[in-house]
């Protein structure tokens, strides 16, 4: 809600086992940001915001 660039899905793994397999989810909640599993378990909001920013940094093209 804080930024229109951010979309968030809650995925019920029992109904979508193929997704659990795709990301090799061993525990819940497992949080995937831009197709990479980054967190298993709970984390404070501020830390999670930093994880989002890190994911954005990684996604930027490398400048030559």
């Amino acid at each position: 809600m804080a930024n229109d660039n951010i979309v968030s899905d809650m995925v019920e793994l029992a109904e979508f086992p193929d997704i659990a397999e795709k990301y090799n989810i061993q525990g819940v909640p497992g949080i995937v940001i831009n197709d990479t599993l980054v967190i298993v378990g709970d984390m404070p909001e501020a830390d999670f915001a930093q994880e989002i920013l890190k994911a954005v940094d990684k996604g930027q093209p490398v400048k030559s």
Binding site: M1, A2, N5, I6, S8, E12, E45, A55
Partner: protein, 141 residues
Amino acid sequence: MQMIADNVRAQLAEILKTLTNEVTILLFTQKEGCHFCTLARELLDELTALSEKLKLEVYDFSKDSALARKYAVDKTPAIVLVGEKDYGIRFYGIPAGHEFTTLVEDLIDVSKRDPGLPKNIIGDLAKVNQPVHIQVMTSPS
């Protein structure tokens, strides 16, 4: 089958009195191969009956594929929460157990048009200048 027990229903009706603006819940279902679509419909029917601020719109994933694409919905049951705009909040699968609480909290946030985050976090998230897709994997509880 009644999905929301009477005592929970009464509590929920009280909580939903705090809703300020309308929230539209879009549910995408399909006839074939969606074991939980009917239950999701029943749950949302019961939930939306508890507040005039909640509107439920049910769509067919195949027949309404253009709308499904618009909301980037790729599986069913899919629940999309929309306020005065789409905030990018989706639930895939039936939001029962703990996920039901999350759904209600999200409905309240969307109704307020406010994610309820501290200012410093809002400031950090404002820096996000490219698409971010978060998927929170949960299990029934």
